[in-house]
């Protein structure tokens, strides 16, 4: 009898700790979110007061972003054709400035898709303006 009592007294009380540990585990499982890797693209803003960027210079590319389509120097194109054109132009001179004019009606993803293609082509100097 006396041996058993001594054994019982020596046991560490684990139940409460296990409860807390499981609660912590459940908390972390519930609140855990898959990490979303973001990508950033630096763009140049128009200078304050500038109504529009000059677009008639030969070393400037002007791309317009509309809802569902794009134009390159005034010519209407789909995204894949635009990508091909941009790749070709970047091979000639990837340092040239790209003026991107975005329609207010266009979606943000359409701008991101264009920026993505410009990055793929190798253009670094991107200016984003709003199409008035």
């Amino acid at each position: 009898m006396s041996i058993r009592r001594t054994e019982e007294q020596m046991e560490t009380p684990m139940s409460a700790m296990i409860d807390v540990v499981f609660l912590l585990l459940i908390f972390f499982i519930v609140t855990h979110k898959e990490e979303q890797v973001e990508a950033h693209m630096a763009i140049n803003l128009p200078a304050p007061g500038a109504a529009s960027a000059p677009s008639n210079k030969p070393n400037l590319l002007e791309v317009h972003v509309y809802n569902t389509f794009y134009t390159l120097n005034g010519k209407q194109l789909g995204l894949d054709t635009l990508e091909e054109k941009l790749l070709g132009l970047a091979m000639l001179d990837s340092d040239q400035t790209v003026i991107i004019k975005v329609s207010r009606e266009a979606f943000q993803r359409e701008l991101v898709e264009l920026l993505d293609r410009c990055q793929k082509a190798g253009f670094k100097n991107l200016n984003v303006l709003t199409l008035k």
Partner: protein
């Protein structure tokens, strides 16, 4: 003899506790601490070729634009005027070199992004970055 019987009845919980603690450590380590600037309601447009960001710039202001059109800065909805004021304040605290990161929902019209861009310009800032979700397909 009686003693060995008692030992057999006990459930072996040591290894289970080990596993549970390892799981807790995993979740603590992988949980993103820098969540103050990330709005879960913003679903970014996907990008393949833009440079993935491993570390955000130290001096930054993150503006979120939700699909509902709400412009959020510091978890507070902002109008263009209040956003300009808040960005000016942030600029005064963080100093030159502050970058404004625009996290726009992919399905939001550019009109709202333009409002943010105007607020950034009005606040006297010029460094702006457009945020997208990296697909991780670049090297595949």
């Amino acid at each position: 003899m009686k003693n060995s019987k008692t030992e057999n009845i006990e459930t072996p919980i040591t290894s289970m506790i080990d596993v549970v603690f390892l799981l807790i450590i995993f979740f603590v380590v992988t949980s993103d601490i820098d969540r103050e600037s990330v709005d879960d309601k913003v679903k970014l447009a996907k990008s393949t070729y833009l440079e993935p960001v491993t570390k955000l710039p130290k001096n930054r202001a993150v503006v979120n634009v939700r699909a509902s059109g709400e412009i959020m800065y510091g978890a507070i909805p902002r109008s263009m005027a209040t956003l300009t004021g808040a960005l000016k304040q942030a600029h005064a605290i963080q100093g030159a070199g502050m970058v404004v990161i625009v996290r726009g929902h992919g399905d939001e019209r550019y009109e709202k992004i333009d409002e943010v861009v105007q607020a950034v310009t009005n606040a006297g800032l010029s460094r702006i970055k457009i945020s997208a979700q990296d697909t991780g397909l670049k090297d595949k």
